[in-house]
């Protein structure tokens, strides 16, 4: 198995469109790395450069410590699973899976044993004689993965492989691909726009936006310590609530003033926002870090009006109006709330975040402004 190293990789298309800007990251041996970001962020272009399907405008790409910028795809020892599977419609499942091995002139017996083994792992032994047309979406997905694993490549590349499946199947295949990674102990790079996929599958996540890497880290680091407002908002569902606030000092107490409410800052955040007295900041709080308060702790809670109630079974998502912002809060299912109710939320300050208005960087993490 292998490592993949991207050093200052840049992609410029005709007409000076910069799709990928100075991307640097390393995929360690046997690691499952997810590239995630909204559409047009350059994640697929990055993957296609690793595959050799796109030329690299500038920078160096190493696979297994070998510079491969000018090595054609077939000599990079990689396999790729495409978004639309790209199964050859005129070949049977067996022939689709055996295609690469036949080209590489493997012995017939070896081809058969590898295809059979892959089919067994993916539970598609029954389908080997069928044409792709006669398969369901999930089965096609498996065949596409099977075609990749029979080659036993150094690196597996996945380009949004689950985006054509329905929600239920997606959850199932997500677990299967993770299982496959554990089983094969292979280096995998996976592109998706779905942050849930990224969080559940990746050992390491690379968050991209407008061709630039925003943050690299394991799922919980990204969730708990996002370096900027974009990552904070992109990772997590429902997303983090943001609101512009002014830091003020009243009676020796540090407070944030949202316009409609003022609330004293608590915990370690006091020292963090002290330099910003009189200035504006973006305040961020995740839905689960808004604590529902049934009692009345005057001055330390935010009064809100319930607009929408979304009972999900294990939890309830509430869309609540502070007067100037709509926030999402996540509360336990045991609490009964109706639309129009006025309810109070306390803030778990240790979990709150502040972002600089200009740079949108998180205060206290990464590049501080």
């Amino acid at each position: 198995m292998a490592t993949v190293d991207l050093k200052s990789i840049t992609k410029v298309y005709d007409g000076n469109v910069q799709a990928v800007k100075n991307v640097n990251f390393t995929v360690r041996d046997k690691e499952f790395v997810v590239l995630v970001g909204p559409s047009g962020c350059g994640k697929t272009t990055t993957l296609r450069m690793i595959a050799g399907l796109e030329d690299i405008t500038a920078g160096e790409l190493f696979i297994d410590e070998k510079l491969v910028n000018d090595v054609p795809p077939k000599d990079r020892d990689i396999a790729m699973v495409f978004q639309n599977y790209a199964l050859y419609p005129h070949m049977t499942v067996y022939d689709n899976m055996a295609f690469g091995l036949k080209i590489r002139k493997f012995a017939k017996q070896e081809i058969k044993s590898r295809v059979d083994e892959a089919a067994r792992i993916l539970d598609i032994e029954e389908l080997l004689d069928r044409k792709p047309k006669a398969l369901s979406g999930g089965q096609r997905q498996r065949v596409a993965v099977g075609r990749a694993i029979v080659r036993q490549p150094k690196v597996f590349l996945f380009d949004e492989p689950l985006s054509n499946l329905d929600a239920k199947l997606r959850v199932q295949m997500r677990a299967e691909i993770s299982g496959l990674h554990n089983r094969l102990q292979a280096t995998m790079i996976y592109v998706t726009h779905d942050q849930v996929e990224a969080m559940t599958m990746g050992d390491k996540i690379v968050v991209m936006r407008d061709g630039i890497i925003q943050q690299i880290g394991d799922p919980l680091t990204l969730y708990n310590s996002p370096v900027n407002r974009f990552v904070a908002g992109f990772i997590g569902s429902p997303p983090m609530n943001f609101m512009a606030v002014k830091v003020i000092e009243e009676g020796g107490e540090l407070m944030v003033d949202e316009g409609n409410f003022k609330i004293p800052v608590g915990g370690s955040k006091v020292d963090l926002v002290r330099p910003y007295i009189g200035k504006e900041l973006i305040f961020g709080i995740r839905p689960e870090d808004l604590k529902y308060e049934s009692g009345t702790i005057e001055g330390e809670t935010v009064d809100t009006t319930v607009q929408v109630v979304e009972p999900l079974g294990a939890e309830i998502n509430l869309y609540v109006d502070t007067g100037s912002h709509v926030m999402v809060a996540r509360i336990p299912p045991t609490i009964t709330v109706h639309v129009g109710d006025v309810i109070k939320f306390a803030i778990i300050w240790e979990r709150a975040a502040f972002f600089d208005v200009e740079s949108e960087q998180t205060l206290g993490i990464g590049v501080e402004v």
Binding site: A51, Y88, P89, H90, G100
Partner: protein
């Protein structure tokens, strides 16, 4: 609720009455449209297919029956005229010549045009549009205007009065149309197949041959059939470039045949049938693919 009930019923009744009136209107319109549609279909059939049916029918009747009651059905299935056409007038040679020339020219040009269309459909290179426009421009040149240069060329190549001459000349026929159909066929194939093949290790030639060519089979069938029929029926260059009976193709043979034996209508119609039938059979066999391809090339071309 009870107060509203009568008014609801009344509205429903009015609506029902309106509906039945509209129904009658709609039915009349549908019938009129049906009559018009069948009228057009029958007209097209009468002008295009009936003469062919009449020719085939007449090949089974004797001369006097053809002259006295031209539209009657044949009394018996008499293949004698066909036997005579083949035994007395050397038609097997002409048929073989036609088959050989038309098939060879079609196959060779399909291979060449498919390669050209694939490159134009898949890759960007300087002058691509110019090439494509030049190919298309050949449509605007009437084939007969090229007679003199082609004749001189064939003469200088010492190919005059050979079947090779016909194959070579026919190769260029149908280029614009075939390129158009094949380009559309290749463009309809997702690029991911090429990319997947590239990653699997397939060379350019293998990707073309094993992935794209089989997937473009409707386009290939269409272009092939159209070219084959064109070559099969071609008369002008066959006359211009061959002299001996040894290299004569069917349309040419037919011309000589009608000149020499125009009084024997049965044989003439039998000979005509021999020329007509293969085209019809081939088209009938591949009709579905041809139609699918013509329809899709219309959208994507």
């Amino acid at each position: 609720m009870a107060d509203n009930a009568p008014s609801v019923t009344r509205t429903a009744l009015v609506r029902q009455a309106g509906t039945s009136k509209e129904d009658v209107k709609r039915t009349t319109r549908r019938i009129l449209f049906g009559v018009f549609m069948y009228g057009v279909l029958i007209f097209v059939f009468v002008v295009s297919a009936l003469p062919v049916v009449w020719v085939i029918m007449s090949a089974f009747k004797d001369n006097s029956a053809i002259l006295s009651s031209p539209f009657s059905l044949p009394n018996q299935l008499n293949f004698q005229a066909f036997v005579q056409v083949f035994t007395l007038y050397n038609f097997q040679t002409y048929t073989l010549n036609s088959l050989l020339v038309a098939s060879l020219a079609t196959l060779l040009s399909l291979v060449v045009y498919a390669m050209g269309a694939y490159v134009i459909a898949r890759f960007d290179f300087p002058g691509k549009s110019l090439f494509y426009i030049l190919f298309t421009l050949t449509l605007l040149v009437p084939p007969h205007t090229k007679a003199q240069p082609i004749f001189s060329l064939i003469l200088n190549l010492r190919l005059y009065d050979t079947k090779t001459a016909l194959v070579v000349v026919y190769l260029s026929f149908g280029m614009a149309m075939s390129m158009f159909i094949l380009r559309a066929a290749f463009m309809a194939i997702p690029k991911e197949f090429d990319e997947a093949a590239a990653i699997e290790g397939a060379s350019f030639v293998r990707t073309f041959w094993m992935i794209n060519l089989p997937l473009a089979k409707t386009g290939l069938a269409t272009a092939g059939i159209m070219m084959f029929l064109g070559h099969w029926n071609e008369y002008f260059y066959a006359m211009l470039l061959t002299a001996s009976a040894k290299h004569r193709t069917l349309p040419l043979a037919l011309a000589f045949f009608t000149e020499a034996f125009s009084y024997d209508y049965t044989q003439m119609f039998a000979a005509l049938t021999v020329v007509i039938i293969p085209g019809i059979v081939i088209y009938a066999l591949t009709q579905e693919q041809v139609q699918a391809s013509v329809a899709s090339s219309g959208v994507k071309g």
